[in-house]
């Protein structure tokens, strides 16, 4: 069970004067249950890449398969849920309930089973039952995002793709979002996060793909990433790695501020910290 991309090449406006090469020989594989981050700067091809994973875009050459099924087959749509960068645009129901029901109803789910899936999805997103009858357009931006995500989850996808889910969220809501994603992942759903910023998400993920001008330039675990040279490191692991490289006895796969503080403090005063 996996999403498998082999030698994917894609251009927008092919064979016209406006042709734009967006993906160049991309190969990667994401297993069911994985939590991955796809990162790279704006315009590098991240959104183009993920739109191939649920069949919104078709390869110019190469192949994209979900659990062995090519993405031009309809049946993959229910397996791969996608939350777009501006989830407000994904909302259309007259009420929150109608909006969240739309996906599963479209896949043929009816009656009590439909009610159950909608209820579970709202629960997962900490959405109160009382807003079910409200128009989604009367909600705050943050709540709209939660409703859009519940709408995607109600179809019970095996793979959940989120395009820049943290953009525009403040620190508190980012933490909430990430804890929801961790919870979903622990239920066996693959999480694929697209983000132009690495630091926030890297500690959560199993694997990282870096993309630059339509090419994959790094794939590996966060640990491999930290050990690689000449790639950008978030500041806390950077400090720890610099101390380590200078011969000080500290671990360097540390992202957490408290952990970094403890690690350096115990180097300065081993007894005192042990006693605490």
């Amino acid at each position: 069970m996996s999403i498998d991309i082999k030698n994917l090449i894609f251009s927008y406006n092919r064979s016209t004067s406006l042709e734009k090469h967006a993906l160049n020989d991309v190969s990667l594989s994401i297993k069911k249950g994985d939590f991955v981050l796809i990162s790279g700067e704006v315009g590098s091809g991240k959104s183009t890449l993920i739109k191939h994973m649920n069949g919104l875009l078709k390869p110019c050459s190469g192949s994209v398969e979900v659990d062995g099924i090519p993405t031009h087959k309809k049946d993959i749509r229910s397996k791969v849920g996608m939350l777009f960068q501006f989830p407000q645009k994904q909302l259309f129901g007259k009420t929150v309930d109608e909006d969240i029901s739309f996906g599963p109803a479209n896949f043929g789910i009816k009656g009590n089973q439909l009610k159950k899936q909608v209820h579970e999805a709202m629960d997962l997103m900490f959405l109160d039952e009382s807003i079910a009858s409200v128009s989604p357009f009367d909600l705050s931006g943050g709540q709209m995002r939660l409703v859009a995500m519940a709408g995607v989850l109600a179809s019970k996808p095996d793979y959940l793709i989120l395009d820049e889910p943290a953009s525009g969220l403040d620190a508190k809501n980012r933490k909430i979002l990430f804890s929801i994603l961790k919870k979903l992942n622990s239920k066996g759903i693959s999480i694929i996060v697209v983000s132009h910023q690495i630091s926030d998400v890297l500690p959560l993920v199993d694997r990282l793909f870096l993309i630059d001008s339509g090419k994959i330039v790094f794939k590996g675990s966060p640990d491999e990433y930290l050990r690689s040279t000449n790639l950008y490191l978030p500041d806390i692991p950077w400090i720890m790695k610099e101390l380590h490289d200078r011969g000080f006895d500290v671990k360097f796969d540390i992202f957490d501020i408290d952990e970094a503080f403890y690690e350096v403090s115990s180097l300065l005063n081993p007894q005192k910290v042990d006693e605490q």
Binding site: E41, D170, A171
Partner: protein, 273 residues
């Protein structure tokens, strides 16, 4: 150079986006304005070049009040703005055409335009891209073109409204370097962001919440006060770590504001013990 007195702004739908704001920005200052989404940052800075007009109170730029329409042209000449999304700001087919556009509109002689455009492109580190189409540039390079285009108009003050928020780390640093150079070249700089690491080189940090100014001090003082989290902002990890060492008495003196400074402080400390 910009004086704001008791400024309130109510949008037609009834939203009170600014609530009695008082602010005085001096010529040559580098001011960062931070605050959570919807706190009123964009509304505030749009008053500084008369894109929005006060519901009550007043805004005075170089002695000209923004309520007097005949001064709008002069105010906008003195105070320019660069926005979040560079794509929406391009007008030319090539980078140099784009930078020249504003000057051509002013009817400047073509030799002078050439010279200005070259100077601004060089300043922004874009000389090699002068004949490139903006659509073939990276996000960071596009933002630099937008900045060069504004510089060509020779404003006294430039406002950057979340210009880094769509960029990755490398481009973000590049653009911040350029903003810092713009300030060093003598311009008044007002930089709106929700990333506090971008405030470390500023003279002054202003935090907004619910349409009001809630903090206004040096970045160090604000970071040390521990108050930013009350307003939906987060200390950059490196500064949070430096603050922890300082609060616990392990590090003394100035708060380290960059990773290099903190590394230096920690190395010295470890070698001493």
């Amino acid at each position: 150079m910009i004086q704001i007195n008791d400024l309130s702004h109510r949008f037609p739908n009834g939203n009170l986006a600014l609530d009695s704001v008082n602010l005085n920005i001096k010529k040559g200052e580098f001011v960062v304005i931070a605050g959570r989404n919807g706190s009123g940052k964009s509304t505030l800075v749009r008053h500084m070049n008369a894109l929005l007009l006060p519901s009550s109170g007043n805004v005075i730029v170089n002695g000209m009040g923004s309520s007097d329409q005949k001064d709008h042209w002069d105010i906008r000449q003195a105070v320019s703005m660069v926005f979040q999304n560079p794509d929406s700001q391009f007008v030319g087919m090539t980078v140099e055409e784009d930078v020249a556009f504003g000057l051509e509109n002013l009817g400047m002689a073509s030799d002078n335009i050439r010279e200005s455009v070259d100077r601004c492109l060089q300043f922004a580190g874009l000389s090699e891209y002068s004949k490139t189409s903006p659509i073939h540039l990276s996000g960071g390079q596009k933002q630099k073109v937008a900045i060069a285009s504004v510089l060509a108009m020779y404003p006294e003050c430039i406002i950057f409204d979340e210009v880094t928020s769509m960029l990755d780390h490398a481009s973000c640093n590049d653009v911040m370097d350029l903003i810092n150079s713009v300030h060093k070249a003598g311009k008044t700089v007002i930089h709106v962001t929700h990333r506090l690491e971008e405030a470390t080189t500023a003279d002054r940090l202003i935090v907004m919440d619910a349409g009001r100014i809630v903090l206004d001090d040096t970045p160090s003082n604000i970071f040390l006060s521990g108050k930013v989290s009350d307003f939906g902002l987060e200390l950059p990890p490196i500064i949070a770590l430096a603050k922890k060492f300082k609060d616990s008495g392990i590090l003394q003196g100035y708060l380290a504001l960059s990773k290099d400074e903190l590394l230096e402080d920690l190395c010295q400390l470890i070698l001493k013990t």
